[in-house]
Amino acid sequence: MISAATITAWLHHAATLLDEHKAYLTDLDAAIGDADHGVNIARGFNTVAQKIAAQPSQSLGLLFKTAGMTLMSAVGGASGMLYGNFFLKAAAVAGDRSTLDDADLLAVLEAGRDGIVQRGRAELGDKTMIDAWTPALATLREALAAEQPLTTALTRCAATAQQAMAATIPLQARKGRASYLGERSVGHQDPGATSTYLLLRSLSETVSNAALSTQDQPT
């Protein structure tokens, strides 16, 4: 079971990890975009972390909604709207639940991903964050279907995201700013797919940590 505390921890950890990789993400965006992805996304998630620290909540729906609204009003780039939509759709599925079981978590993440597709209309292979989300969530779904423990399933999910992120390198961009480069976008890793990997990695790491501390404690 994933608690509101774990989701809160995830969002804080994501903010830290994205902030640490701010320059890296911005450099990736400099090559095929407008050199602001790291700055955008770090500012966005740092604001989310502040907001949820100031207004803690047990309702996952509220937590996700705060994250979504904050990203939308704090980022102002394509990614802010897309990640914002991710969390708004996730919020709709989470509702007023205060914990998520494995199936809930998968449903929440898939709804979020669908929200990105709905808004951004990217298809697989367009060299966007969707190229990381879709294979990574497919892995998660398979692993859970194979009854692997959540921590393992999330670790494999993040690993797939990492591979998928690297697999955007040979693609030609067909959405977002990078698409204007046409063939010149080939040979560069998509910044949004990279931040998606970092988000999923931080989720996996946070859930593993939470599981560890739960094992440590006598229940």
């Binding site: 407008d34 939308m72 009003s73």
Partner: protein
């Protein structure tokens, strides 16, 4: 970096405050969230026009707020889309009951934000429509890219649709006219130099002392190609021919349907220019190019249009849609009919465009 600014974080807010002080009778601003509205908004029974986009393109859009043009504008950070909360709050401030038209330049960030804002406004029971401006012929196809960027045509859409709203056209008619102006417009730009954003403090891209960038966007995005420097007549010929020879351009435009609250996808085609067309011509400075140089460009543009029997009915020469201090220019041609010309000529009173009043 040499700029007339104070703290980098405060640039947009302070510029907005300066505008409000300079035009106390015309403009009112909100800084949290950021938007600029005309003082007499909401104007009873008038469709409200709201636009917005990244800052750094001034006078677009704030300089076009006022009688006969925009009711509100939402400035983002420099070269960064504004956010839906700005568009939402701004629209609420100017909506009089006759509905809101959101004028959206085709950049992914802008588009997604305005789409969200439209849904929020619809949720509040406000009739809302969207129009997409995508006139930059430097982008060749719409299938494998995010589509043509919105550039110079934005001014024409805002002026003509603004006049229509002022004249009492209902929401659907203002929206249709706005879309028609966008479809009838084609633009192309070039840069002599890069620009410097306050945040970066160094040129956005490197351009050699003997190079120019053709097909530049307005954010210092790389253009279509980089070529050795050529003279003004050749630059003009190059831009004008890209515009005049541009074949039919088809794209899927997603627009908001206030009846259903959903999105409708339409396949829209811009017809190419034809001999006999009447046009409005805009020769625009990217910011750092002095207006005097634009007249050399216009001189050659007029000659080319005459050769091809394109009749320039109205002309605008100046710095209207800029990229900070970038040197360079863009050309926009908009095919017009009598209605559009009448609305173009209608009175307008904004900081950057004013006539008839």
């Amino acid at each position: 970096m040499k700029k007339l600014i104070n703290e980098t974080d405060a640039v947009i807010r302070e510029q907005m405050e300066g505008m409000a002080l300079a035009y106390p009778d015309q403009l009112r601003i909100s800084t949290e969230p950021k938007f600029i509205v005309r003082t007499d908004a909401p104007v009873p029974a008038k469709v409200a026009l709201v636009s917005g986009g990244g800052s750094g393109h001034e006078p677009l859009h704030g300089g076009f707020v006022g009688m006969g043009m925009l009711d509100g504008a939402c400035p983002g950070e420099i070269f960064t889309s504004p956010t839906p909360d700005q568009m939402y709050a701004c629209s609420l401030a100017v909506h009089s009951g006759a509905g809101v038209l959101l004028v959206v330049k085709n950049y992914t960030g802008d588009l997604l934000s305005f789409e969200t804002a439209a849904e929020l406004l619809h949720g509040d029971g406000i009739p809302v429509r969207t129009v997409l401006v995508d006139d930059d012929v430097a982008v060749k196809d719409s299938l494998y890219t995010a589509g043509r960027r919105g550039v110079g045509a934005t001014l024409l859409v805002e002026k003509i649709a603004g006049a229509a709203a002022e004249a009492g056209y209902p929401l659907h008619a203002v929206a249709e006219l706005a879309q028609k102006v966008a479809l009838h417009s084609r633009s192309m730009g070039m840069a002599l130099t890069s620009c410097i954003t306050p945040a970066a403090g160094k040129p956005t891209f490197d351009l050699g002392p003997d190079e120019i960038e053709i097909g530049i966007g307005i954010h210092g995005e790389p253009g279509q190609r980089r070529i050795p420097i050529i003279d003004a007549d050749k630059v003009t010929t190059l831009l004008a021919c890209e515009i005049l020879d541009d074949p039919p351009y088809t794209r899927i435009v997603r627009s908001f349907d206030p009846e259903t609250g959903g999105w409708v996808e339409q396949r829209l085609t811009s017809a190419p220019f034809q001999p006999g067309d009447r046009v409005i011509a805009l020769v625009n400075s990217m910011g750092g190019t002095p207006v005097s140089e634009l007249y050399t460009v216009y001189r050659q543009l007029a000659a080319i249009c005459q050769q091809r029997s394109i009749h320039i009915a109205r002309t605008l020469v100046g710095a209207y849609i800029t990229s900070l201090d970038m040197q360079g220019c863009s050309i926009t041609l908009t095919r017009i009919d009598d209605e559009m010309l009448r609305l173009w000529d209608a009175p307008v009173k904004t900081p950057a465009l004013r006539w008839g009043v």
